[in-house]
């Protein structure tokens, strides 16, 4: 019984961490899909969301909902500025130079946050208390429910947006074929801007809702971004369910690895399995194969 309880706890812990990865993965995939950019600054958006929320509460004494709003709006503004000042000026950019620019931006954002708000780790109070909830012999915190709920909401919302609105469809068109999209009159530049807007807002949201659990500091973005990237890759860089599954799988693998095999090697185990998956399915878990056209 105890062993069974342990396994459920591992699974539930894994799922809740995985949901965080999934959310970040989604924000990765949105930019990738409409621009082909792997945004290495994505983790920084997450960090910025958390830090801004905390600062709003501790320094500006705002109530929680207002703090969340400030965090999301502030981060989105940074995301838009980033697109305008760093991405747009790159003419004929190669995927590599885009990567370097986003690396530069991530260093810059991290540095600025460090200078303005210091290096200390900060904690955000949980949204609805921290009385543990028991689920099938395992315990989670109310904040985990928030994470699950927001992840679910984001999936539904992005599904609706990308499949049932003109703008969303236009963004998808850009991801399939940018030239064709621009030929039929879609403003590709505007779509890129929009994708940065959505993605940074989403990243900030993720940052805010995880901050009560994981706490935050200027340097947490790298690791979170990395895990989100993995989730997105696993899901085949789609902006939907695949990425979420990818994130959940990663989280559960880590948790089970830590609990059952070795906590020291848990990331290595997770990555090893991800590698095996990639070797068997080079296109990610949830994407159909494509063939080169010549």
């Amino acid at each position: 019984m105890e062993f069974f309880n342990q396994i459920t706890q591992y699974a539930i812990s894994g799922l809740s961490t995985g949901a965080i990865y999934a959310l970040i993965g989604l924000s990765f995939a949105i930019i990738f899909n409409s621009t082909g950019i792997i945004n290495f600054a994505q983790g920084e958006f997450v960090m910025l969301g958390g830090v801004l929320a905390i600062v709003s509460i501790t320094a500006l004494h705002l109530p929680m909902p207002a703090a969340v709003a400030v965090a999301v709006v502030g981060t989105t503004a940074v995301g838009l500025a980033f697109e305008r000042l760093a991405i747009r000026p790159l003419k004929n950019a190669t995927p590599l130079s885009l990567i370097i620019v986003t690396i530069g931006a991530s260093i810059l954002i991290r540095g600025l946050v460090m200078l303005i708000w210091g290096k200390d780790t900060k904690a955000l109070p949980p949204f609805s208390g921290d009385t543990p909830i028991e689920v099938a012999g395992a315990t989670i915190l109310p904040q985990h429910l928030w994470i699950f709920a927001v992840t679910l909401l984001v999936i539904v919302a992005s599904r609706l947006f990308f499949h049932h609105t003109i703008t969303g469809k236009a963004m998808r068109a850009c991801s399939f074929n940018r030239r064709a999209a621009s030929l039929v009159g879609i403003g590709v530049g505007r779509m890129v801007l929009l994708s940065f807007l959505i993605s940074s807002a989403l990243g900030a949201l993720a940052g805010v809702i995880i901050a009560p659990l994981t706490m935050t500091a200027y340097d947490v973005g790298v690791m979170l971004g990395l895990k989100g990237f993995c989730a997105a890759i696993m899901g085949g860089m789609g902006s939907g369910f695949g990425t979420v599954l990818g994130g959940l799988i990663l989280g559960v693998l880590e948790s089970l690895g830590a609990g059952l095999i070795s906590s020291g090697y848990k990331d290595a185990i997770a990555f090893f399995i991800l590698l095996l998956i990639l070797f068997v399915r080079p296109q990610g878990l949830f994407k159909k194969g494509e063939t080169d056209r010549v």
Binding site: S13, T17, K119, T121, A123, A258
Partner: protein, 379 residues
């Protein structure tokens, strides 16, 4: 070619000038601190404290009428950078002694440089390897991890708890603690029933704690630095883990209580005395220094001084005392450092000798417990 010649002439001229000017010049001390990077929680208070104490000394008229100058660099916790900067301090800045570095990794990397250059290094990092075996030019002010471990184990033995679980962070701080925890266990008749680790940037340790919950452990010892231990405390609360939770001196600052919130209640840890300076008896030899340090730090930085900063405070004071007694040459400072006896600093009462360059005993640590969001002494 022409340019080369100019460079040579200019640098030669500069060298001459600086030699001439030396007589009136301040005494240069080097500082190597990990002000940025993952160890900034050490490096920042250390650099601040070092700068503060140098300023205070200068305000009070300097050392034997000469001012001190602190030339401090940020290693970022990166060993290669630390090596470059150690070279810069010894070869370009010609400092007479160096305080720092902050981390054991940086310290181990730069030790050969100071040994070769013949410049005393007073390390602020805790690793036992730094001064064991004794190296001619290397001293340290941070308490050995082994002393902190001994403090915890003594308490556990007193409470007859002999089965424990370890949860250590997989960085230099955690692995050094883990080594000590495992090494000393048998000496206290303690058995380690689970030995778990977590990565420095991990955000959830429920898996490890679940495993510990399922084991025979009677107490948990977590060895890490913020924010990991705060997450551990919160996760333990989430899981309803009722075992006594011990932490390391790596989190002995108010920050931990702030981060862990309610979950910090009841957590125990060994700490330098700076945390509980007010609570110490008047007879304590360190009390005066501790209160002065806390007061100065608050004045300078509007923040609470912690015992990491204390390591740098001790280091600078030790060097200053050595200069007062032995002059401003590296060799003179070294021999006076080695001769230091009974120096009551922040980290403890230092007694260096030819066979001991760490100079502290386990009295340097007190065991504290969090009660009502504040530190109390465990008797």
């Amino acid at each position: 070619m022409n340019k080369l010649l100019t460079t040579t002439v200019v640098s030669f001229a500069l060298t001459c000038l600086s030699t001439v000017a030396l007589a009136a010049a301040p005494i240069k001390i080097g500082g190597l601190f990990a002000v940025t990077g993952p160890a900034s929680f050490l490096g920042e208070p250390e650099r601040n404290s070092a700068q503060m104490v140098v300023d205070e000394i200068n305000k009070a008229g300097g050392v034997k009428g000469r001012l001190l100058e602190l030339i401090s660099y940020d290693t970022g916790g990166d060993a290669s950078k630390a090596v470059q900067l150690a070279n810069k301090l010894t070869k370009n800045d010609h400092v007479v002694a160096v305080v720092g570095p902050s981390t054991t990794g940086d310290a181990m990397a730069v030790i050969p440089i100071f040994e070769k250059a013949g410049v005393p290094l007073v390390s602020c990092a805790a690793g036992i390897k730094i001064t064991d075996p004794v190296k001619k030019w290397v001293f340290k002010t941070a308490q050995n991890d082994s002393l902190a471990v001994a403090r915890i184990y003594e308490q556990l033995k007193k409470e007859k708890k002999n089965k424990i679980a370890l949860l250590t962070v997989s960085d230099a701080f955690g692995s050094s603690g883990r080594e000590q925890l495992k090494g000393q266990a048998s000496h206290y008749g303690i058995e380690i029933v689970t030995d778990e680790t977590y990565a420095p940037k991990d955000t959830d340790m429920t898996a490890q704690l679940t495993k510990i919950r399922g084991s025979q452990a009677q107490a948990v010892i977590c060895w890490g630095t913020n924010p990991g231990p705060a997450v551990v405390a919160r996760n333990a609360k989430q899981l309803g883990l009722t075992l006594p939770l011990y932490m390391s001196h790596g989190v002995s600052s108010k920050k931990f209580i702030e981060l862990a919130g309610d979950a910090a209640e009841g957590v125990r840890l060994p700490s330098g005395k700076v945390l509980v300076a007010e609570l110490l008896p008047k007879s304590d030899r360190q009390k005066a220094a501790l209160l002065a340090y806390i007061r100065d730090y608050k004045n300078h930085f509007k923040a609470e001084g912690d015992h990491f900063g204390g390591h740098a405070w001790d280091a600078v004071m030790l060097v200053k005392n050595a200069i007062e007694k032995g002059g401003d040459t590296p060799a003179g400072i070294r021999s006076q450092l080695e001769a230091t006896r009974g120096f009551a600093g922040i980290g403890g009462v230092f007694n260096f000798s030819a066979i001991d360059h760490a100079g502290l005993t386990k009295d340097a640590f007190v065991l504290v417990e969090v009660k009502n969001k504040n530190w109390t002494l465990v008797k």
